[in-house]
Point group: C2
Chain length 286, copies 2
């Protein structure tokens, strides 16, 4: 997916959030923003939003001298999500519900003054929502015949919902070799390999790094080791917008996108109403 016209101001707003989270010093915030204003000039007709965005963010990190401005935010997200998921795990959840929970986990902003009780309420109310596109039967069908699953994670917090879903996948399709990929280092609130390990995902599958801090699966920037896994996987589950943005033009039928179409560009690209919950198989073929 290439940038849409809305991506510019969205990236700019995220830069503001980054400097606000990264430092209290107004002068340093300004230094970060001036760097962002320089870096965003690299945005081109065919830029991928997740990639140009990440590049700008990393410039800001460098300018403000903070390599992980979302650290506290991510820790809070993980803590709250773990609590909510551990309550849900006591119930007898089926595979389809676990899939929906993995999408819902992508939606919730855990760290904005939320109590675990409120989050649980929100999660339960969202479970009542229908998926706008639901290719989950096809996904499960393909998983039953697959040898290798690559699971591309997205954000902190959300990864505990992924864990719930992956445990169900593990139970239902015990033949699967599962790889679970996270980012090589901190970038906004994305889960790093470290976060995945701390969430205990190594008990379910092999935790691997994409080899880059750039959001999504930016070809040319991911590591060779990651590409080997990507190429041999029979099924790929890609969580969230960043993975969609970087993969959508591959027309790779092995990929199933699990996401909420949060912003207008993504909704426009997928031709769905903004806000839709989706489990959609990638279009495929030459």
């Amino acid at each position: 997916m290439k940038v849409h016209y809305e991506c510019f101001s969205c990236i700019a707003s995220q830069c503001q959030k980054i400097v606000e989270m990264g430092t209290e010093d107004l002068g340093v915030r300004k230094r970060g923003i001036l760097r962002a204003a320089k870096a965003i000039a690299e945005m081109k007709e065919d830029s991928i939003p997740a990639v140009i965005g990440s590049r700008v963010f990393l410039e800001v990190y460098d300018a403000i001298g903070n390599d992980d401005p979302f650290r506290e935010y991510k820790e809070l997200s993980n803590r709250l999500a773990e609590k909510v998921v551990s309550d849900l795990e006591r119930e007898n959840i089926d595979l389809k519900t676990a899939l929906k929970l993995a999408i819902i986990g992508n939606v919730i902003d855990f760290a904005v003054g939320y109590s675990p009780e409120r989050i649980e309420e929100d999660v339960r109310s969202m479970l009542g929502e229908e998926l706008y596109i639901d290719n989950s039967d096809e996904l499960f069908n393909r998983l039953s015949g697959a040898k290798i699953l690559l699971y591309l994670t997205d954000n902190c917090g959300e990864i505990y919902f992924d864990r719930l879903f992956l445990r169900k996948i593990r139970e239902e399709f015990p033949q699967l070799k599962i790889y679970i990929a996270g980012k090589e280092g901190p970038i906004i609130n994305d889960a790093t390999v470290e976060d995945l390990r701390r969430a205990g995902l190594e008990e379910i599958g092999e935790v691997i790094s994409t080899g880059t801090r750039i959001v999504g699966v930016p070809f040319g920037l991911v590591s060779r080791e990651f590409m080997e896994v990507f190429e041999k996987a029979d099924v790929i589950i890609a969580k969230g917008q960043g993975n969609f943005e970087t993969l959508s033009e591959r027309k790779d039928g092995r990929i199933f996108y699990l996401l909420k179409a949060k912003c207008r560009p993504i909704a426009r690209e997928l031709n769905v109403p903004q806000g839709s919950l989706l489990c959609v198989r990638s279009p495929f073929g030459p």
Copy 2:
């Protein structure tokens, strides 16, 4: 005033609004935004927000091939404000209330689905608000001893509130030679000399152009004719944020700023709470 860290994302949001107002064509919107992303790289440590903003906006105008994207918005603002002001004019309004109305006229976004009745309600409720800094006695005192007043307008719509205030000034200080300045050409929703003429301001004073489309009074870009008036004026009334941004560092005690501190940078600069209504004399002296 120099850019604060929040100015980047604010300018980016305004660019998005400009392309949305300027064209329905998604491809053209994107072209405008890509130009904005290039142009904003010119933002520097000591840029003035109104100036760098205007420069970026004019690049976007050029890229989308629309020299006045706010045309309809401005027409609607003028029409609604004229209606509201003509109702207010039937009442016996004193000079101080007229000054407050001129500030309130700067605040109201006339064109967002507003009925004249709703606007009137809002105006009357805001009249109950105290000015956070009120140097109006000093302003009136200086006007009574002055020969030349320069009145720097800001937005469309608002100019009808300015007209009301200027009529009261005309009545109370009949000795004054009044100059009323507008922009040379369209820039966002700012009032052009054309708008001032159409609002009948020539009956009250001499309508002049700043000589530039850049918002505010950007020294070096305003015309020589404008500078002559600026230099000979005894009192200068400067409406809105753009005029403040471009003039604040002059420390020119002839200037009285009438504005609402809408954004955090302006509020921070003036050391007032965000949202304050202000009639504040410029600090002065070397």
